[in-house]
Symmetry: C6
Subunit: 274 residues, 6 copies
């Protein structure tokens, strides 16, 4: 089920041999390529599990560029991105972080959930996202000039109503940006079937159920059923689990703890698998 | 009373010779095994002391996989899971954390009370819980690919009404999930008797008392009497303590400090042992 | 006045030759011994200075086990309990903390005021308090199995109304528990006289005064006069201080700063020594 | 698209050979030069992306001074500005920070978004901004006297309504100050065309659209369309993207997530490109 | 003006040759001596500058014990009291803190403003303040037994209404305690005259003024005029300053910034020196 | 424009050859000298830019004492004042901080904006400000006795209404204190003219304008126009800038961002230069 090769060493460019499967929903591939060629940083917005990570892996492979993915969080420091000195054999050795590696090798650096990062992390990106395209490494005294192949891609989920955390406007202003959403019915059925091995005929009611569960979003849930959870459910069904139980395990329990909310979701599921 | 062998060295797979006793309540064993075979991460929800840890030890032994258990807390760092450099003989040596050990040896990594962990800890799990199944070790420059035998299991207790702490929806979405609860009367009697050595006839009123005390939950207590406390009480009775005093020591004092609440609980106990 | 020998080295079991004086108030000695033999962790609750520390020293000596006492506070880290690497002669050397020493030597580890400890500290105790009875030392890669002689005892004072701090229910559930209170009149007179050397006849009015001062608790004081303070007062009287002044110095000033509250306490004292 | 040379080594003065294009809006160039010659520190206020950074690069090149740019943030420490000791080959080596480099080489040090910096950072600037013009390096024991060529320039965006963060009055009092705003229509058209390569005739409606979008500022947006985003949009159009889609990608998505606000902006865009 | 010898080395007992001048207000000297002989820890309460520090220096010299004084504050760590490892010549060397020095040499350790200290600091004192009289040094693995000469003295100012900070009742309960206040008129005149060299006749109106200023306490000031400030004022007068100006400089400006409050104080001063 | 020599090495006393220009407003020079001769610590209060720093530089030079100036801030640690160990050539070397240097060389240590400092910093000053006049260096085990030439001077601006930060009364009580304010008209004209080189005739209307702007203080500004800003304005005028523009740049923009407040200030300026 994995489309990824193992990246073993840090400084050699690693390019995926095989382009991961991705089904475009609009002209996002064209836009990505123009941004890449014109050296514009890209911001992708969209809900969890709608295929942002897959899309970027797909484009990186198509463009023949190594991909450096970083999941951001609020304890990540700038050094986690740029690198740090480590003590080896009594001597300090500088070890590049993923951002620095991407700049040195002319790769694509993808920062997932960028709004989770602290300000000092996002500020590191500033000189890379204006016409200077440089990465100053204060610790080593280097100022790296990004080669043509380097591209910065960031993403976040605007669905979270996180008042405390948001991308600074002065950072957002440095990116062109597109919004993602879940694939339409037919496309999502194709994805679920191809990822799980469950026949298309069995995937249609499942994806339809997913769409109906998502329509309940406003009611009680922090987040809706992702394509990934539909794939999980399909895998459980394919491996012999009762579809109702599979749906409870993959679509209800991961999303909520409240008994009343659970019951509401289970009712919808019973209409399909009851 | 211990079913565990001593794990002495870090990198050699350690597998339990003896499968710990576990009495299934439903099809949780099947679900665990499907999730294991299909490489889906698993989230288990349930109250303290209802047998989650025992269940996972049981399944790990049945599947012949080494088990790495980590109790999460809010001062745990990502390095506690993945590993760190230590200075030995003037040279820095990398020491794997339990998650990295589980990935390297193809074992089961169990993170107990995952909601207690900080965000940087849960984010480390992300690339292990999608189709990449990789663990990037930024400090060593390695990107580990999880072998087939690796499985990630996490748990938490949804009964805590912790507004400040909850699992990020984007993390929850990466797991299939099941809910646990205390065993039904007969099964719990069997467990308490088998763990304490107290005859079944004496365990029946004790477990019945436990069930009645749990029914008081809504009133005043943060948490209900666990199966573990019933076992403790049975051990005290078996060793000659007065049953009323044993129940006070094992079922009342550990749960509350308030005199009025204590009195309410003691009244129920008097009905059984007074 | 000290019943303690000097513990000089870390890893050799140290056992008190002389059993410290302790006057039981109920069956707490039996309960302690059953818990010790059955390897159940013990939680002791009670006000400051009522004799918890003395009781544990007494039982440790009776059972012939070395005692490791730790006063918990909110800046204590898990490493303060388990141990840490220190740099010695250019080489890092692991130094066991008191909990690890207790596990290695099969001793009793007593954590005083456990509610003051941070969560990462209490979580370290979890695998020692279920049927695994193990202490994983992530830093050294060891997983220690507690020998039969090892026992964990914790205590706290439920009288503090500390809303921010409390023992997690999932931690409390791992202990059998007993409540302590001040000794009854006759017993407390015996303790005060034996500790201070003041004749019993002079201790009776003093302990009676202490009991009356405690009865004022609800009014204005955070905590009541402890047995220790009564012993201090008796020592001052025995050494020639005026009893009224001794009581002011040992029973009033240590407990409050407010002039009105002081005056209230002094009035009671005048009734005895005025 | 980059006007910058790579600064490779830390201590040699680096001066831009080519003066970056800058179109003055008033007498800001004269004022900058007087402040430079008279050794007065300069504070520049203005919205994101209105050309502050470009202006300073332009002046630094015109005056033949090396430029050291630092993006401030609230995790930046004073040591990030002044320098620190690093361990190299078993010996600690002092490495100058950008401010120290600017003082040593007589360059211009530009601190972008100074209000984001912590107090200890701004206080480091005090002895450089009064008649002493010194930089005490407590760690090395040096007190550097700034040469004539040294100039300190700071900037911030007063549009952010950040109650928690503001420049201390005692710091502000040390600077002469000017306010920047977006260029007038004709000048902004010239900038957008020159930066993107899109013909002036196509830039006029785009810049007009930008001005109209900025006029909506009061309504819903944290920040308005910058000149930089207009340049991005022009680049997308020049590379064949549909102008409406280019505007959505470069002018709408980077500025907001709210569907209603987006719709309001898109309506204005449809009037131009619909 | 200094009564103190220089303590140069850490581990040799240092005893003052000359007993600093101290004028007793009551039986505090007797009480100190009884507490010292009976090994009871002592807590001294009183306003700033009323002579607590001087009293302790006096008693330490009288008893022939070295004195270790520590001003507590909320960034002080337990290691500041007990000691720490320092790297010297590639080897770590343990350096005792002042508390450890006092224990090793059998001296008096005086912790000034103990309420400012963090909890981990006060908890370090616990085993020294019960009948164990031990100081466990976890870092070195030592458990020091305090010799007979060791005494612990702490102080704080109950006048501060610091809601956030207070001594834990469980810590207070470990001390006998006395309250200090400013000396009565005649004694304070003697102190001020002896410290400043100003003739007694000139000190009388000054001390009277100080008493009147203190009587205003309830009105507007956080703290009242200390004996130390009266000494400062006397020194200024003796050196030729105008008494009104001396009082403004030594008694008004140090106590408040508010113009109205200042005027109120100055009015009282004019009545004496106007 | 600088009156300061470069202090190159740390431990040799550095004394200014030339006494910086200072125009006394009252008897502050006498008071400073008495405090210096009598070894009383001095606290100076007053608004930003009224000449406090200049006054102290003047007095230090007059008294022939080296001056150590420290700008305090809330991330400054006690070690920044006293010193720290640094690793050099594999050996740790102690490096004195500015306070320690002042004590060792018998110089004047000036702590600017002392209220910004943390409590652990101000507490370090306590033993230097009573009759002990010692500086205990816990890290080195030294207790330094201040020589006669040592003097401690601190300052702060009481105009800031910082509720969170204030000098502890127990610290304030250790200083004699004087209040500073802006110089009267004639004196300020002389200062502005002498610092900027602008003829007196042109300085008179400028300083008058400054006085009028200060009278607006109550209305909207956090702080008023300082003498320093008037000097800046005079420099801009002398170098050919239009006086109105010079005043906008030096007197308005540095003080506020609000458009309405700016307009109010500009109106006053137009009355002089319009």
């Amino acid at each position: 089920m994995s489309h990824f090769q193992l990246q073993q060493a840090s400084h050699e460019p690693v390019v995926l041999q095989e382009v991961p499967f991705y089904k475009p929903a609009g002209n996002e591939c064209t836009l990505f390529e123009v941004a890449y060629r014109q050296q514009l940083p890209l911001l992708i917005k969209g809900p969890t599990g709608c295929g942002k990570t897959r899309f970027i892996a797909h484009m990186a492979a198509r463009l023949g560029r190594p991909l450096y993915t970083v999941s951001c969080h609020d304890d990540m420091t700038a050094a986690d991105l740029t690198g740090r000195y480590l003590l080896k054999g009594g001597e300090t050795v500088w070890v590049d972080g993923p951002l620095t590696q991407a700049v040195r090798t002319g790769g694509i650096c993808y920062l997932d959930e960028i709004v989770e990062a602290r300000k000092d992390v996002t500020v590191v990106l500033h000189p890379l996202t204006d016409d200077r395209r440089i990465l100053p490494l204060e610790r080593t005294g280097e100022i790296l000039k990004a080669p043509d192949g380097f591209m910065l891609v960031v993403s976040y989920n605007p669905g979270y109503q996180n008042i405390l955390k948001s991308l600074k406007p002065s950072t957002r202003q440095r990116f062109v940006s597109i919004s993602f959403d879940f694939a339409p019915l037919e496309a999502e059925v194709e994805i679920v079937s191809s990822e799980s091995g469950l026949p298309v005929a069995q995937c249609v009611p499942l994806v339809n159920l997913g769409k109906r569960l998502r329509a309940l979003k406003e009611v009680d849930l922090e987040e809706v059923v992702s394509t990934r959870l539909l794939v999980y459910c399909a895998i459980l069904i394919k491996n012999g689990l009762d579809p109702f139980q599979a749906a409870e395990t993959a679509l209800v329990e991961p999303l909520c703890d409240d008994l009343d909310v659970k019951e509401g979701l289970l009712e919808l599921i019973r209409a399909t698998y009851g």
